[in-house]
C-alpha cells in the first residue's frame, strides 16, 4: 500500500483539468489513472471544431483541446499511468488499480477525484425488437472506429436519436462516403444544438424525422434495414405510419449515462435526476474526501464547462488533502423546483463557501421567454430571463460567494423555471 495525497480516476478532460488545478494549488503527490492507452478521453475522437471557445477564446478541435491539457500535465510533471484500470475505491479512500505493467497495486489517498466520464446508452436500453445482427452501434463507438482506428462501420446509415454525437456522426459518415438516409428522433424537438442540426443535417439534405422512432431492425447476420414509425403524444408508434429504410448500419445517439460503478463501490450517494454523485458546492460527494467532476457527475454539453468544474474539484481536493480537516456537513439543501431537473450541486454549506457557486441544471421541457429564479428559504436571490430554454442545453446560474453570508443557517435553496 502506497500513501499518496490525491488520486484522480480518469484521464479525459475532467481528470486532466482536475490534475492541473490540484498541482497548481500546491499538491506534490498526486497520481492520475487512465484506462485507455492515451490521455484525452473522448476528445481525440471528436475531430470536429467547436471546443475551447470559453476556455481559450478560440475554436479548437477535440484533439487540439486535449493536447493543450496533456502538455500542461507533462509540463507540471504530474505522474500519469495509462492502460490502468481502477478496480475498487473504498470509503476510507483506498484505491485498487491494475495494469499489465505494474500488476495489482493499492494506494491510500488523502483525497480522490472521480472523473470517469459517461457511457452511451445501448440498444438493450431501448428494447427495439428484431434479431441481433451486426451493424447496430452507438454513435460514439462508430466515431472511435472511424476517427481513431480508421474503420468504416457501414455504407448506408440510419441514425436513431438526434443528440450532438449522432448529428456529428451523420456528417462524418457522409464525409467518408457513406449514405445517411435519415436521423430519427423520438421527441418533437432535437436534443442537439441548432448549429449541429443545420450544419450536419440541413447542409447535406439529411432528413430529421421528429416524433419518429425505429420499431424494428431487419436482418439476421447483418442489418438489412429498419422500420421507422411516427409516434403519438405518448411516444407510442402510430399504426399505419411505418416505413422501411434499407440500410446496413443503425447508429444510436440516445443518451449518456454517468459511469458510477466505482462511486457506488465507495458508498457515494447518487442522485436520481443526474445519475451522478450528490455533491456540495466544493464538488465533494457524500463520502468525505471524495470529489466528483465532469460527465461522471452530470452529463455536460460543453467541454469548456467540464474543464471549469473539474478545476474547481482539483482545487477542493488539494485543499482537503492539505488540511485533512473534517468539514461541517452542508446544511443548505438544493431542490429542483418547477420546470427544473438535476440541479448540481445538491447541497451548499453557507458557512464555508470558498468560490462563487454555479448552479447547473436542465429544464424539463422547452420554455420560451422563460425566467429562471433562485430562492433561499423562499427569498428570491437571483433571477434571469431567457428567450428560450431547452433540455438539450444545460443552464448555469452563478451566485456570488458573498451572498451566502446572509443565509447562514438557511435550510433550502430552490431553482425554478417559469414561462
Amino acid at each position: 500500500m502506497t500513501d499518496i495525497d490525491i488520486v484522480i480516476i480518469g484521464g479525459g478532460p475532467a481528470g486532466l483539468a482536475a490534475a492541473v488545478a490540484a498541482r497548481e494549488a500546491g499538491c506534490d503527490r498526486l497520481l492520475l489513472f487512465e484506462r485507455d492507452e492515451v490521455l484525452g478521453g473522448i476528445l481525440p475522437q471528436c475531430i470536429h471544431t467547436g471546443f475551447g471557445l470559453h476556455v481559450f477564446q478560440e475554436e479548437l478541435t477535440g484533439p487540439e483541446y486535449a493536447q493543450r491539457f496533456i502538455d500542461r500535465v507533462h509540463a507540471l510533471e504530474i505522474p500519469v499511468q495509462c492502460g490502468t484500470t481502477v478496480l475498487d475505491v473504498t470509503r476510507d479512500r483506498v484505491v485498487t488499480a491494475v495494469s499489465p505493467m505494474c500488476g495489482l497495486r493499492q494506494f491510500r489517498a488523502k483525497a480522490i477525484v472521480l472523473a470517469m466520464g459517461c457511457r452511451e446508452r445501448t440498444r438493450g436500453a431501448l428494447m427495439i425488437p428484431g434479431w441481433r445482427p451486426a451493424g447496430v452501434y452507438t454513435a460514439g463507438l462508430a466515431q472511435r472506429w472511424v476517427n481513431r482506428e480508421g474503420w468504416m462501420p457501414g455504407r448506408r446509415v440510419v441514425i436513431l436519436g438526434s443528440g450532438d454525437i449522432g448529428l456529428i456522426m451523420a456528417r462524418r459518415m457522409m464525409f467518408e462516403g457513406a449514405k445517411v438516409l435519415a436521423c430519427v428522433e423520438l421527441m418533437p424537438y432535437s436534443s442537439g444544438l441548432t448549429r449541429n442540426v443545420v450544419q450536419c443535417l440541413d447542409d447535406y439534405d439529411i432528413p430529421l424525422m421528429l416524433s419518429h422512432t425505429v420499431t424494428d431492425i431487419h436482418g439476421r447476420e447483418r442489418v438489412e434495414g429498419v422500420t421507422v414509425a411516427q409516434v403519438d403524444a405518448q411516444r407510442m408508434p402510430v399504426p399505419g405510419t411505418e416505413q422501411r429504410f434499407d440500410c446496413d448500419t443503425l447508429l444510436l445517439s440516445v443518451g449518456l449515462i454517468p459511469e458510477n460503478e466505482l462511486s457506488k463501490a465507495a458508498g457515494v450517494e447518487l442522485a436520481e435526476a443526474t445519475a451522478g454523485p450528490v455533491v456540495d458546492e466544493s464538488l465533494q460527494t457524500s463520502v468525505s474526501g471524495i470529489f466528483a467532476c465532469g460527465n461522471v457527475l452530470h452529463v455536460h454539453d460543453l467541454v469548456d464547462e467540464v474543464t471549469r468544474e473539474s478545476a474547481q474539484a482539483g482545487r477542493a481536493a488539494a485543499a482537503f488533502a492539505r488540511s485533512a480537516a473534517g468539514l461541517p456537513p452542508p446544511a443548505l439543501r438544493v431542490r429542483d423546483g418547477a420546470g427544473v431537473r438535476g440541479v448540481v450541486p445538491q447541497a451548499i454549506c453557507a458557512e464555508r463557501v470558498a468560490e462563487d457557486v454555479s448552479l447547473m441544471f436542465r429544464p424539463t421541457a422547452v420554455f420560451k421567454d422563460a425566467t429562471a429564479a433562485v430562492k433561499i428559504d423562499r427569498v428570491e436571490v437571483a433571477r434571469q430571463r431567457f428567450r428560450i430554454l431547452t433540455p438539450g442545453e444545460m443552464v448555469k446560474l452563478t451566485l456570488p460567494k458573498g451572498l451566502f453570508a446572509r443565509f447562514k443557517g438557511a435550510c433550502e435553496l430552490t431553482v425554478e423555471v417559469t414561462e
Binding site: V146, R148, G150, T194, D203, I388
Partner: protein, 122 residues
C-alpha cells in the same frame, strides 16, 4: 430577386429566416427574433463558409491523423476539399499545426494537422 429560407444558428430558438436577395446582396431578412439573425443571414446567404475537418492516412499505419482547414472555406468547396484531403498521405513525425495540404482547392486556406504523431507511435 430571389428568396431563401434558412434556420438561424445563433441560439436554440432556431428562428426561420426568410431572406430576400437582390443583386447578390441581402435585401431583407424577415422572422429574426433578435439582431443576430440579420447578421447570420448576411453571411450565410451571400458567402456561406464552413470549417472542414477530416482524416488523412499515415504512411505505414492503420490509425488516421485528424486535420482541419485553418480557416472556414466556401461551402460549395467542401467536397472538393475532402477529396484533396483523402488523396494526401503523411509521413511521421507530424506536429499539430503542420500544413498537410497547402492552399486546398485554390481557396487560399491550408489544411493543417490537429493531432501529432511521432515516429515511435504505431
Amino acid at each position: 430577386m430571389s428568396a431563401q429560407t434558412i434556420t438561424c444558428i445563433g441560439c436554440p430558438m432556431g428562428c426561420r429566416l426568410r431572406v430576400l436577395i437582390a443583386g447578390g446582396q441581402v435585401a431583407s431578412v424577415d422572422g429574426a427574433g433578435c439582431g443576430r439573425g440579420a447578421v447570420y443571414a448576411r453571411q450565410e446567404c451571400v458567402c456561406p463558409t464552413r470549417m472542414v475537418t477530416s482524416l488523412v492516412r499515415v504512411q505505414g499505419r492503420h490509425a488516421p491523423l485528424s486535420v482541419k482547414t485553418a480557416r472556414p472555406v466556401p461551402k460549395e468547396k467542401i467536397f472538393a476539399c475532402l477529396q484533396s484531403i483523402r488523396a494526401a498521405r503523411v509521413t511521421p513525425p507530424v506536429r499539430i499545426g503542420d500544413v498537410i495540404v497547402a492552399d486546398v482547392c485554390g481557396t487560399g486556406v491550408d489544411v493543417v494537422a490537429t493531432m501529432a504523431c511521432t515516429e515511435g507511435d504505431s
